[in-house]
């Protein structure tokens, strides 16, 4: 029963020294980056557990996190630089790799980069994976130093949240939203899985969500499929795919026009609902200050929003100001919502009208409008309800409004960033007490509307910039609400570049672990876009499907071989929301890199040095890490990424808390205060429920686009949110009777984990992970049974195949497939052929994308054909 490995005993006997250490670090099996302790014995990692000292994960890990050992020791990991010897590139084409020396690889790449930079630096596109989110700064620093505007994540972000991040940023000053699990009593989930082993603050949320459910929090889950979040719900509300805004707006109508239950004080003080709107849909602005005006009921005259108590601001009525007829934004909101009757909601969503009314009523009643609660001696508003949304609901053509409509529910009842309500992840921080660094708080723009206190990049989500003639390959300059973009791999990218007179084309792809041919949409389109590059360099841990297009491959370090000073900062990304602790853990090397692996961030430094941009790189790092004083990097020195991390840590935590301190202690933490967590009540900012800028943005975008022959549908740029159909809802071809959609499986992270043998084994045993979920009654009507091999075809002829799994837990019109499965890379034998490659059903073009934020629509209307009976 001796649990000590044999080799440990031998080593102790022969050398007298035992290597037996638990190393504090951070997981990287998904972007949540939960804190870990890795057990190393004689150089071998034999166990990974959660770090109980940390607020990030709270000492517990999901199935993916504990399985990291298998990714680390996978014999298919890349160990040496390689070059392709087969000039032909294509999906499934053998690159005929030849191992080369680091010198040859670096010389080749540096030479090409130098020439490219002299020619036109814009021709470089830097792509990175979202699963090294924690190290998103090195690629951005390299982008800035090199001088290209072109960098993106995961091939353009199909699996990311253009809408979710935009709205969470504008409305909550955070990357995402979550119920305040400690106090919430009624949470409505719209296509989100917070608390169910996925996403931001994943493991912490699992604990907190379970506590909340055990405490009695009702969880109403709106989802076509009751596999994960739905499985743990108090009530599962099956919905037609892609119609979440239809439900949310019908609920909002019940609140405002049927029940008349909304938080007047909140709307007056914390939103732009009192701002007067003219018949031209714009604010009535003061002629001197240009500030938006409100109607002061106390004096019966108009004044700027900052010149009267919010309690006196009218949100009802019609007024004349400077000869212009105008009404408070709330009047327009109420009228707009009247068109979303519960009956219309039913028509759009298939959810019975009475259910919509009941859920809205339960939400309104539980909101306890007007109540407060005392927490740690501080009185804060108490609204124990939350409506949250994430990937599923906002991954559609109507991305922006789907997300905004859901969040509207929180704001109508005043349940935004107050106790029990819908929280952003840590939008305000009083700073690290010993140094005063890390202090940030949302603040108002001249219109009184919120600018985020912290963000993932230098340009926050609000104010929305002016549209400009596009220069970035994804055309984001023209679409200022877009983060990722369909055009990085779309079938119409060349047409777009020609339309907008691009005087260059991307020629060089520097890929940092992204697998874009699997993560964007149908592989034919992405293959064509990859083949256009003259040169591709890929830093990767496996020779993925995208890396098979590379000319040179650099073997990257895995997370157990990496040191990184900030695995959970910015706090708005993945530190748990709500009361608890501020916590700054690091990631550190648990073992030395195997083979000839080198950390991509260090290789970027080496490449920068060889092409002569070290001073620019150091300046970029100074800016990105916000280094101050003596902690700023010196222009001419080539730093390792760990050295930069040491500067970063000393800069934030003081000279005695550099990398050595963190390597020993793993993290620094300090308690959160109620005024930080529930900052909204203490911060004089408003959020826009009436998106006044939308008409201007549309007009400015059209002014550029229309002369080039691109029409921008105006309905996506209205100041108030609408339900607008996906292309799938407009398909009326015979026999196309399912809405196919993908979901994130509980044991997998995008395409990263399918090569992990333990996770693959778990997924094979799961009834759904690798199969196609179809409603049992509908399936039987079509003569299908579980295990049948079926073909799923979209209206454009794109097809996938897989095994049917009949289930009672899916909407009759839905067809659910776990995302990013169906690998085909030759050097990923565990992942190869497992599951269904859903993305081949996703069309990549302007028509299938959000005209406001360029999100690709994740659903497709499909026809199902039986190919072979169950074995």
């Amino acid at each position: 029963m001796d649990d000590v490995p044999q080799n440990l005993t031998n080593a102790a006997e022969t050398t007298g020294e035992v290597d037996d250490k638990w190393v504090s670090s951070s997981c990287s099996l998904c972007y949540a980056s939960c804190s870990i302790k890795a057990h190393r014995v004689n150089g071998t990692v034999i166990k990974i557990e959660g770090n109980p000292e940390s607020a990030v994960g709270k000492g517990r890990l999901c199935g993916k996190g504990v399985s990291g050992i298998m990714s680390h020791y996978d014999p298919n990991r890349l160990n040496k630089p390689m070059k392709r010897t087969n000039p032909e590139k294509g999906k499934g084409v053998d690159p005929m790799w030849e191992e080369i020396s680091w010198d040859e690889a670096l010389d080749t790449v540096a030479g090409k980069l130098k020439a490219l930079r002299e020619d036109d630096p814009r021709k470089l596109l830097i792509m990175r994976t979202t699963t090294v989110m924690t190290q998103h700064i090195p690629p951005f620093a390299f982008m800035s130093a090199f001088g290209t505007p072109n960098a993106s994540a995961a091939g353009g972000g199909l699996h990311c949240g253009n809408g979710a991040h935009l709205i969470s940023g504008i409305m909550h000053s955070s990357w995402s939203i979550v119920p305040d699990f400690q106090y919430c009593n009624y949470a409505v989930y719209f296509g989100a899985s917070k608390g169910h082993a996925a996403g931001h603050a994943s493991c912490s949320n699992m604990t907190m969500a379970a506590d909340a459910r055990a405490r009695g929090m009702k969880m109403v889950v709106v989802d076509p499929f009751a596999n994960q979040a739905g499985a743990n719900s108090t009530e599962w509300v099956p919905i037609r795919v892609g119609t979440d805004a239809g439900l949310a707006l019908a609920m909002a109508n019940v609140l405002v026009n049927e029940l008349e239950m909304y938080d007047v004080a909140y709307l007056k003080a914390k939103t732009n609902m009192p701002y007067l709107i003219g018949n031209d849909t714009r604010y009535i602005r003061d002629s001197e200050t240009n500030k938006p005006m409100v109607w002061d009921s106390a004096t019966s005259q108009a004044c700027t929003f900052d010149k009267t108590d919010s309690a006196d601001m009218a949100i009802e009525g019609t007024y004349m100001v400077d000869g212009k007829q105008c009404r408070p934004g709330f009047v327009l909101m109420k009228e707009h919502l009247k068109t979303y009757t519960v009956e219309r909601g039913e028509e759009i969503t298939t959810i019975p009208a009475e259910n919509i009314r009941r859920i809205a009523t339960e939400f309104a009643e539980e909101a306890r409008i007007g109540s407060t609660i005392v927490i740690d001696g501080v009185t804060v508003p108490y609204r124990p309800v939350a409506a949250i949304a994430f990937r599923g609901s906002q991954g559609h053509k109507n991305s922006t409004y789907n997300m905004l409509s859901v969040d509207l529910l929180n704001h109508l009842v005043g349940a935004a960033d107050v106790a029990g309500g819908c929280l952003g992840f840590n939008p305000a921080c009083d700073g690290y007490p010993e140094t005063g660094r890390l202090k940030y708080i949302p603040h108002p723009d001249p219109d009184g509307l919120m600018i985020t206190g912290s963000w993932m990049g230098p340009h926050g989500p609000y104010p929305i910039g002016d549209p400009a003639p596009p220069e970035r390959v994804g055309l984001q300059n023209l679409f200022p609400m877009a983060m990722g973009s369909v055009f990085q791999g779309s079938t119409d990218q060349e047409e777009m570049w020609e339309k907008f007179d691009f005087d260059y084309r991307p020629e060089f792809l520097l890929n940092l672990g992204a697998n874009q041919i699997m993560s964007v949409g149908n592989s034919d389109a992405v293959e064509a876009s990859l083949k256009k590059f003259k040169f591709i360099v890929s830093f990767d841990i496996f020779a993925t499907e995208t890396t098979e297009f590379a000319d040179i491959v650099f073997p990257d370090c895995g997370y157990l071989e990496t040191t990184d000073s900030r695995s959970n900062f910015p706090f708005i990304f993945s530190l748990p929301a709500g009361l608890g602790e501020w916590c700054w853990p690091i990631r550190q090397e648990v073992v030395e890199p195997e083979g000839e692996r080198r950390l991509f961030a260090d290789v970027l430094q080496e490449l920068g040095d060889r092409i002569g941009i070290t001073p620019d790189l150091n300046a970029a790092y100074n800016a990105w890490f916000e280094l101050e004083g003596e902690n700023r990097l010196k222009p001419d020195r080539k730093y390792t990424f760990a050295e930069i991390g040491d500067h970063d840590l000393k800069d934030k935590f003081g000279p005695d808390k550099g990398l050595d301190y963190f390597k020993e202690h793993g993290l620094v933490k300090w308690p959160k205060k109620p005024n930080e967590v529930y900052w909204r009540a203490f911060t004089d900012v408003r959020v826009p429920l009436y998106w006044e800028w939308m008409n201007d943005t549309w007009e400015k975008t059209m002014a550029i686009a229309e002369p080039k022959g691109l029409d921008i549908p105006k309905e996506y740029y209205s100041p108030l949110p609408d339900w607008l159909p996906c292309p799938s809802h407009e398909c009326d071809h015979e026999d196309f009777d399912f809405y196919a959609f993908y979901y994130r499986d509980i044991v997998h992270t995008n395409s990263l984990t399918m090569e992990n043998a333990w996770l693959d084994e778990a997924a094979q045993l799961d009834p759904y992970s690798y199969n196609i979920a179809i409603n049992a009654s509908v399936g039987r009507e079509k003569g299908l049974q579980s295990g049948d091999l079926i073909s799923v075809e979209n209206e454009h002829g794109h097809k996938v195949e897989g095994r049917a799994r009949l289930t009672e837990t899916i909407h009759p019109e839905g067809l659910g497939i776990g995302a990013c499965a169906g690998h085909w890379a030759r050097r990923m034998p565990t992942a190869k052929g497992k599951g269904v490659f859903f993305n081949d059903l996703v069309e990549l073009d302007w028509h299938h994308s959000s005209p406001s934020n360029l999100t690709v629509d994740l659903c497709a209307k499909v026809k199902v054909t039986k190919l072979e009976a169950a074995q």
Binding site: V66, S67, N232
Partner: protein, 202 residues
């Protein structure tokens, strides 16, 4: 002293954290799961629900697997009630596997590593190769951890805190209290095995 476990089905979300942390702790070969999660469904659309049932050895008071073992390899630790296997005495006859009403015993005769012909990883060399092949293996409540004062790996790791471990002989222990207060139930009580793993209703 009688170690027992309580699994709260209201908290479990079927994340497979127990199944996989068990694998990491015990280095079990492919196809062997001392802990597993069964995902099932109940009811009919639209009121159907997915349910999760985490399973492991029930460490029964009256374990049929021990009764049938011809060599004495399967035994109960007298001091704590844990049902265990002495691999040196096991001849791999599988009688215990047939006797266990919960299918929680595994013959270690399949491949020993996950990457097939590519060989054992350093982790597998350190952790999987400790297990004898040709013998039966199962959960022993992480007895080495427990004797060190720790909880079993699946309990300590569970991200939803759905698993509790303690002394069922002590009426004041958390596990005894949970079973009492929340109507804890074992699986297949009709088999007369008197299991020491209990479930709290969802």
């Amino acid at each position: 002293m009688r170690w027992g476990m309580v699994i709260d089905l209201k908290r479990c979300i079927g994340c497979y954290g127990c199944q996989l942390s068990c694998k990491a702790e015990n280095g079990t070969p492919p196809g062997v799961f001392f802990a597993r999660v069964h995902k099932q469904e109940e009811g009919q659309y639209p009121t159907a629900q997915t349910t999760f049932l985490p399973v492991l050895c029930n460490h029964c008071d009256d374990p049929p697997c021990v009764d049938v073992c011809p060599t004495g390899a399967s035994f109960v630790w007298e001091d704590d009630g844990i049902v265990d296997i002495d691999a040196d005495k096991c001849v791999g006859c599988r009688s215990c596997m047939m006797a266990c009403p919960y299918s929680q015993r595994f013959l270690n005769d399949d491949p020993q590593n996950y990457y097939g012909d590519q060989g054992a990883t350093p982790y597998e060399q350190a952790r999987v190769e400790r297990h004898q092949t040709g013998v039966v293996m199962k959960c022993n409540f992480c007895r080495d951890r427990v004797r060190n004062g720790q909880d079993p790996a699946c309990v300590e790791n569970c991200p939803t805190i759905a698993r509790y471990f303690g002394d069922l002989d002590n009426p004041n222990s958390e596990v005894s209290r949970l079973i009492r207060e929340r109507s804890g139930f074992p699986l297949h009580p009709e088999k007369g095995t008197n299991p020491n793993v209990y479930y709290l209703p969802a």
